[in-house]
Symmetry: C2
Subunit: 125 residues, 2 copies
DNA sequence: CCAAAACCTGACGTTGACGTCAGAGGCAAG
DNA sequence: CTTGCCTCTGACGTCAACGTCAGGTTTTGG
């Protein structure tokens, strides 16, 4: 899935990306500012994105939800853009994975505690 | 588990609570300011906590990790402190539970995507 | 052709959970 | 008594991911 420079992919403006991914226009500009997105520009200066940018933004949202920062995502991005690999980055990936796994486990624990309380207060009002 | 006013439980100072729960002293004071903790005071004004405060703080950390705010936790606290129940609070509990469940699912998705990338870059360096 | 909608660049504001610093007491050990 | 660690109350600082406002240009639909 390395970038295929097909002759003329349909490009979309920032509003469509935002709506498509369910975020604000401001957020998309912010991602670009953080180096997560790159946009072509129309002659008048408007940003033009490839359509897969929408999926990309959705992916960012997932990573944010997983507790990654923009900086961290930017550090990991080369993984998604090229086939290139280096040991340090693989270690980073695994570290993040473990962090998220731990977080999932914690959340599951919290969920269980909430369920406890719910069943108690429901059966014993 | 309603509060048992046992004659003289061993009380601990803020530093012990913090170390015990793995948070900063500042954090503990913050929790008190948000109405999550109540402390007795020694004659000289130092905060004195019951030992179960440590578990309580750990629980707060879980809830924070689950995305609850201090305010939200404070609203739900009566559940843990009394046997009293009202329908609105039960609804809140269930709402939070569902939110967390959704979050867990999202995280699991993110985790799967990371795993994909990891196996790809590992088997195909 | 013209108004509404969309986009642009700054740049300051917001929110939550603390960090940090200042200045002043309090407490057990030697 | 004094040294060293703990605690106190303000109060300002931080960081991330945007929100929001100002003032101006561009694109689109009727």
């Amino acid at each position: 899935m390395t970038v295929t420079e097909s002759a003329s992919e349909r490009l979309v403006r920032i509003g469509e990306v935002a709506r498509g991914a369910g975020v604000s226009v401001r957020a998309v500009r912010y991602y670009e500012q953080q180096g997560l997105l790159v946009a072509e520009r129309s002659p008048s200066g408007q940003r033009l994105y490839r359509q897969d940018t929408i999926a990309r933004v959705r992916f960012f949202q997932q990573m944010y939800a997983a507790g990654l920062t923009s900086r961290r995502i930017a550090e990991l991005l080369p993984r998604w853009n090229s086939g290139h690999t280096d040991a340090e980055q693989r270690a980073m990936l695994r570290a993040e994975r473990d962090r998220i796994q731990a977080k999932v486990d914690d959340l599951q624990t919290a969920l269980d505690r909430l369920d406890e309380v719910i069943t108690i207060t429901d059966t014993h009002p």
